[in-house]
Subunit: 132 residues, 2 copies
């Protein structure tokens, strides 16, 4: 039951560099959540991780993720996206992490000596909560 496409108001919110939490699944199914940078890329969401992250192994085993995004410092307004990582690819030139770093910090990514991986998430469902 996909609930996409995202309405424009939600896209505008997701376009900002918001605090977000991504959850992946350990091999035994235990959810593991961590803070993440993300960027809305068309109808997909791009995240990026260090090649050494266990999260990457989790995603290779089970691509299902959940992403919760806060509307800036407003902790009450948030969006939850459920979906799957449909593409994983080596971020050879660090263009992926630079895109995220520029979005969040205005600068290219600092640590350039580690290999990184891009993950694109397709959104199956979303739900938004607001104060209104």
């Amino acid at each position: 039951m996909p609930t996409t496409p995202l309405p424009e108001r939600l896209r505008a919110m997701l376009d900002r560099p918001n605090p977000a939490v991504i959850t992946t699944l350990r091999a035994d199914g235990q959810p593991v959540s961590v803070a993440t940078w993300y960027v809305l890329d068309g109808d997909r969401v791009l995240v990026n991780m260090d090649e050494g992250r266990r999260r990457l192994d989790y995603l290779r085993d089970d691509p299902r993720v959940s992403l919760t995004v806060f509307d800036g410092d407003d902790w009450y307004t948030h969006v939850s996206l459920q979906g799957r990582v449909t593409e994983l690819s080596a971020d050879e030139t660090l263009a992926g992490i630079d895109r995220l770093a520029l979005h969040y910090t205005g600068r290219a990514f600092g640590a350039r000596d580690r290999r990184r991986v891009n993950a694109w998430i397709e959104i199956d469902r979303w739900h938004a909560w607001t104060d209104d």
Copy 2:
């Protein structure tokens, strides 16, 4: 491999009314994450939800959760707790949600016409990320 007990510095951080995201598992194992109030209650974490939340059905099916807590407005410092809901109980007097509301807003909970449920999480593992 439990990594408890929590160090004091982490307890002090978790004691504050921080933004947090809880992830539960749908019956098919898909993770679903939403913002939540929480309070550290000894070695457990208390959360509370409306009786009508699907999240409650998910927890009855599979008690495994992940909780990511930001250190206030510092999006880089955060703690991830993995654990299980080991106790679910009706919040008959709304004492549970009032405890959370007082912690976060300084006032008793507003909506008093809905039944609510307390969920206590036992922490199996934790991981902290800081800027240092």
